[in-house]
Amino acid sequence: MSSTKTPTSGESRPRKLEQSNPDYDPNIVVEAQNLTKIYRDFWGRQKVRALRSLDLEIRKGEVFGLLGPNGSGKSTTIKLLLGLLFPSSGRALMFGKDATEVRKNERIGYLPEESYLYRFLTAEETLDFYGRLFDMPAKLRKERAAELIEKVGLTWAKRRQLREYSKGMVRRIGLAQALINDPDLILLDEPTSGLDPLGTREMKDMILELKAQGKTILMCSHLLADVQDVCDRIAILYQGELKELGRVDDLLKVGEETQVRFKGIPESAHAEIRQVIQKHGGEVLSLENPRTNLEDLFLSIVRESQQRPGHRSEGARKSG
């Protein structure tokens, strides 16, 4: 990822933003305090309680995942944090500032659930437009757009209108627009939705790369495997309520079981191993060759096919 700093993500404006709130802790990037959203009809009658008293803190440099089934309040939370919705009660703070404050957006990148982009623009025009919205000078916009288009692998299609793009391509350019200002905080709403396994892997790699650069990432998804792969901490929402919050490793750790993986021992040693476990009072739940997951198999086949076009891949033969 580029380390180019845009003027908007520079030091002066954010510092002003931070200085304006004396309680601001620079290590807390996102904060929800008793955040509640109730949708009402025209007459003010309650229709849906989309979010109930959410308390949340996201720290600098972490990848945070919001999990939950459809309608659990994930997207509502993100929209409240972005100021696209106003809270019914409670507060949403970004960099210590109220979510409705426009200047906070200078340090934010947002990839919506579906890439809501102007389909009549080309990739270059799209990034140029969003660059202008960050008040970036022309030279910087051009450099940054070229860099990001290359990064998301769309150089070959940069002059095509987005209406001609596949869903995956639109998603990529959507990510590029979210990164145009080199943001400190990136909000990703269902980042892997609509992507093929290759695209999903690339998206996850990119999230990890951004994390390595010190960016804070807030993503929401209902694809649990994706969240598990990249998130440091997660919050699980259900029907607008926070049900679980913590580090992924801690939450997924099964304390009662032990997993041992060996390499290079013969099949005959299995019985001996079982005996040792039973001797110590343990119970063998499974002893077998590990299986790769479908995602890894698919990726290895694709990569091999790219390297050796026209040949059937080794991976496919093994599995077949």
């Binding site: 003010g44 919705l85 426009v102 934010i108 809501y116």
Partner: protein
């Protein structure tokens, strides 16, 4: 041409700023009040104070944080979006098709066909461009919200001011380009539609001309000819009309300048008394234009061919030097602002009477006072052109062929009438030409008297119009118009009588006419964008249409809301209707009447206030100026532009607050 309001930019500006300020204060009060109500409904009465203060307090930082780059980015995007919608293309195509086939329905043979042409293109352009502006502006933001593309915009550091103003700028920019193209096409259409050539009937030389009956001074076909005509011919019919062509004798006094156009002089000779007689071929005007004549001559100096050039006189931008004031005097000589009411419903013109059998010497007159009558304003200061469109009201038919006679007199307006003499010209009579613009040449040298303050005559003779009559600081000149036919009336309004100053450039006047349409476009687009910040697209379109209708009928609504309207306001009128009391009957005093009057006052004031939600579109519409060939004065243009910019500003602020307080993702 009817002119009901004479704009004076600098006189208008203070009152306009006052009204604009009042509107601003009213808008702020109402906005804060409704904002508080909504916030109290959402958050409770106490937190509502904080919410309102936060929104209002954010206005100035947002305005000062507005970035031109972001505004232009949104403007550019709006242009692309509007082009993609194809509304612009369809508008242009409809206009082009209308022009292609419009020519079939234009009759060039009528009087002043240029009026039909110009009127057609101006109304067509105005209608289409305003309709297009309304559609693209009202649909843009709601579509962005519906498609959620706005999510990726408002999550950038973009102020609501930038979104609203950027969209207005983009749509107006696009409309400007379209308007310029339509203007250019219109100009070509009018020019091409009116250009035509004639040829003489018969030989193309003087042998095609016929004698004039010396007794009747009529042509052999019985038509009227000029006083000084000696031969007469006619052209073929082209564009539905023909012209009579005359050989005239133009006699000039010794020392007088030669005719400006020498191309049409057949011969000239000097008479024994020193006068010079030029024999010239002229084409008499028809259908509001004439043609230049050039003569080919052989080596002996005889005319071998008469050539008629292209039409001239269509493309005019007359600059009228209107009177600053018009005062009527009735038959007793007492001043009267409105003149005599002859019973016509349209009270635009006032009338002066020509006396009657009982009082043959009526003192009725109309006095017009002109300011700034200086030589530099006129193309030919030696011979001013006075143009008049007088109305005649006859109390008896008489000889219908005989025109009603009026008279003109000029007078100086001394700064101090007690010490300075007054110059008064002799009375000159004229025949009124009803329904036409009548042209009367006024020579610089006026014969008259110089009268002392005590009424004695200091000197008689010729005086200079500029140096003697209009000499004081304001260069003021008084003109007196009387009706000289008994029992007949002459009617006039302030705009009916004017001196014709040097013409404006026609193309520039055309541009000014289109600037008027541009001002209307700016207001319509601002309305569309502002309403679309809180309404759905179809509702925003309906809202914009309502505002446009209010704008076009502002004058009518304000007249309706006049406190002195006969029959009272709506409730009293309804009461009279159901109780069958006519408008003049006084209602019985009492509680009922008081209640009705109070309610009417409230309703009428409300109605009057409502007219301020939209600008008076008629003040931005210069169609009649271009149609009738008058220049749009800079005051009028300045007023129109400032009104439109003021409304654009107000609507931008309204749009800002609506967008800022709107939950985009709801």
């Amino acid at each position: 041409m009817v002119v009901e309001n004479f704009e004076n930019f600098f006189a208008w500006l203070p009152s306009a700023l006052y009204v604009f300020g009042l509107l601003g204060v009213a808008g702020i009060v109402l906005g804060v009040f409704f904002g508080y109500l909504v916030a109290a409904f959402r958050h409770g009465p106490f937190e509502a104070f904080y919410v309102v203060a936060q929104v209002v307090g954010g206005f100035f930082p947002d305005v000062f944080g507005t970035s031109p780059r972001r505004v232009f980015a949104i403007a550019k995007l709006s242009v692309k979006e509007a082009l993609r919608r194809k509304v612009v293309l369809v508008t242009f195509a409809v206009f082009a098709i209308a022009l292609l086939f419009g020519g079939w329905f234009m009759n060039a043979g009528v009087d002043n066909p240029d009026r039909n042409y110009v009127n057609f293109v101006l109304w067509g352009t105005q209608l289409l461009i305003l309709f297009m502006g309304m559609l693209i502006s009202a649909f843009s933001l709601p579509d962005d919200i519906k498609n959620r593309t706005i999510y990726t915009v408002v999550t950038k550091p973009v102020r609501a001011t930038e979104i609203v103003f950027g969209r207005i700028l983009g749509f107006v920019g696009l409309g400007t380009v379209l308007l310029a193209l339509m203007g250019l096409l219109s100009f070509l259409f009018v020019w091409r539609g009116l250009s035509h050539n004639h040829q003489l009937v018969g030989n193309q030389d003087l042998s095609a001309f016929s004698e004039i009956d010396p007794n009747t001074r009529q042509s052999l076909s019985g038509g009227r000819v000029s006083e000084n005509a000696i031969l007469e011919g006619r052209t073929n019919i082209a564009s539905g009309h023909l012209h009579s062509v005359e050989l005239i004798e133009d006699t000039r006094l010794p020392g007088a300048p030669e005719p400006e156009n020498k191309e049409n002089i057949v011969s000239s000779k000097v008479l024994p008394d020193g006068k010079t007689v030029y024999q010239r071929v002229i084409v008499n005007p028809a259908s509001g234009h004439t043609h230049e004549v050039t003569l080919d001559k052989d080596s002996a100096g005889n005319v071998s061919r008469i050539n008629l050039g292209p039409a001239t006189g269509y493309f005019r931008a007359r600059v009228p030097a209107y009177a600053n004031s018009l005062v009527f005097f009735d038959s007793d000589g007492s001043p009267n602002q409105r003149g005599i009411d002859v019973g016509r419903e349209w009270s635009y013109r006032g009338y002066v009477d020509g006396g009657n059998a009982i009082r043959p010497n009526s003192l009725a007159k109309a006095e017009l006072v002109f300011d700034n009558i200086t030589p530099d304003r006129f193309e030919n200061p030696d011979l001013l052109i006075l143009e008049m469109t007088l109305s005649v009201f006859r109390t008896y038919k008489g000889d219908i062929e005989k025109r009603v006679i009026g008279s003109l007199q000029f007078e100086s307006v001394p700064a101090d009438p007690n010490t300075e003499p007054v110059f008064r010209s002799e009375v000159s009579l004229f025949e009124t030409e009803e329904y036409n613009v009548q042209t009367i040449p006024v020579p610089r040298k006026l014969t008259g008297k110089m009268i002392n303050p005590d009424g004695t005559i200091q000197r008689e003779g010729d005086f200079d119009l500029f140096k003697d009559f209009a000499k004081d600081g304001l260069h003021r000149l008084k003109m007196i118009i009387r009706c000289e036919d008994r029992n007949q009336y002459l009617g006039l309004a302030r705009a009916d009588v004017y001196f014709r100053a040097t013409d404006d450039l026609y193309w520039w006047n055309f541009v000014k006419g289109y600037l008027g349409i541009w001002a209307q476009l700016l207001v319509v687009v601002s309305m569309g964008v502002a309403l679309s910040t809180f309404l759905s697209a179809p509702v925003a379109v309906i809202g914009t249409i309502v505002l446009i209708l209010v704008g076009f009928t502002t004058t009518f609504i304000r007249q309706l809301a006049q406190p002195d309207a006969s029959g009272g306001g709506p409730i009293e009128s309804f009461w009279r209707l159901i109780t069958q009391k006519n408008m003049e009957v006084d209602l019985e005093p009492g509680l009922q009447r008081t209640l009705m009057e109070q309610a009417d006052t409230l309703l009428v004031n409300l109605l009057n206030s409502l007219t301020y939600i939209a600008p008076d579109f008629r003040r931005m519409n210069f169609s009649s100026f271009l149609t009738y060939g008058y220049s749009v004065d800079s005051s009028r243009l300045g007023v129109a532009l400032l009104i439109s910019i003021g409304f654009c500003l107000g609507l931008t602020i309204l749009g800002y607050f609506c967008l800022k307080t709107r939950e985009i993702a709801k």
